[in-house]
Subunit: 130 residues, 2 copies
Amino acid sequence: MYKPKGEKDIRCPLEYGLNVFGGKWKARIICVLSQKKTLRYNAIRSEMTDISDAVLAAALKELQADEIIVRKQYDEIPPKVEYSLTEKGESAIPILQSICQWSGASSKEEGEHLMKQCQKCDYKADKKTN
Amino acid sequence: MYKPKGEKDIRCPLEYGLNVFGGKWKARIICVLSQKKTLRYNAIRSEMTDISDAVLAAALKELQADEIIVRKQYDEIPPKVEYSLTEKGESAIPILQSICQWSGASSKEEGEHLMKQCQKCDYKADKKTN
DNA sequence: CAGTATCCTATTAGATACTG
DNA sequence: CAGTATCTAATAGGATACTG
């Protein structure tokens, strides 16, 4: 039963949400933008160690399409583009914080703190290494 | 910079959480178990239309490894196995509900209601079809 | 009944070179 | 600077046959 079209089939709100900020990078991008408010392309790139341009650009496009971030382009040389969260994007932050909290923090405050450090923290859950 | 091992690198609580209930099926499984409390393998399978055995079995194993669900095996013929949520699994439900709510519901109650219907609902967000 | 084993396809991620 | 284009690699997801 193949889906020849590249369409995602979002069948419920759960799938929609996980599609919007799931995957390897999108939640991290929202996280970083929630702290720095406005960042240029290369600034985001350097906050996210080990992401490639192809993947970062794709993630940013999806986040724009889902109206989580806005892209503001200044027409000057050299080019300058700034990204920031939309209101909808801001509204997702509490969810990401609650995930941080659930993932091991013992309090709401600690969850928010972990969220603030999410870019570079070396969190290790009690996940088995199979 | 290759990661030759099949190890996931969970670097922050956000990645941990999204690893636990992200992907195409795991949140749905938690969702279904939160309503029916205890289900046998084939019962889960029939609640989740279009999942194959290989994929369902893999998801159930990961959820067990992450201590989200428990597998109770009865040694009888024919075999009988029951799955249910652990306490940790139950504790993830509010997060999934808040995702449902964020994804388009206007109230907490509506979010919980959507969550209850998540298996079969035909939710359509205002997502562009590119 | 409750899965495994095997094989295959689709999607996602990554490296790198290049461009307005 | 902020990407795009292209190619390759890794992973997720799926179909189907088989088994204790």
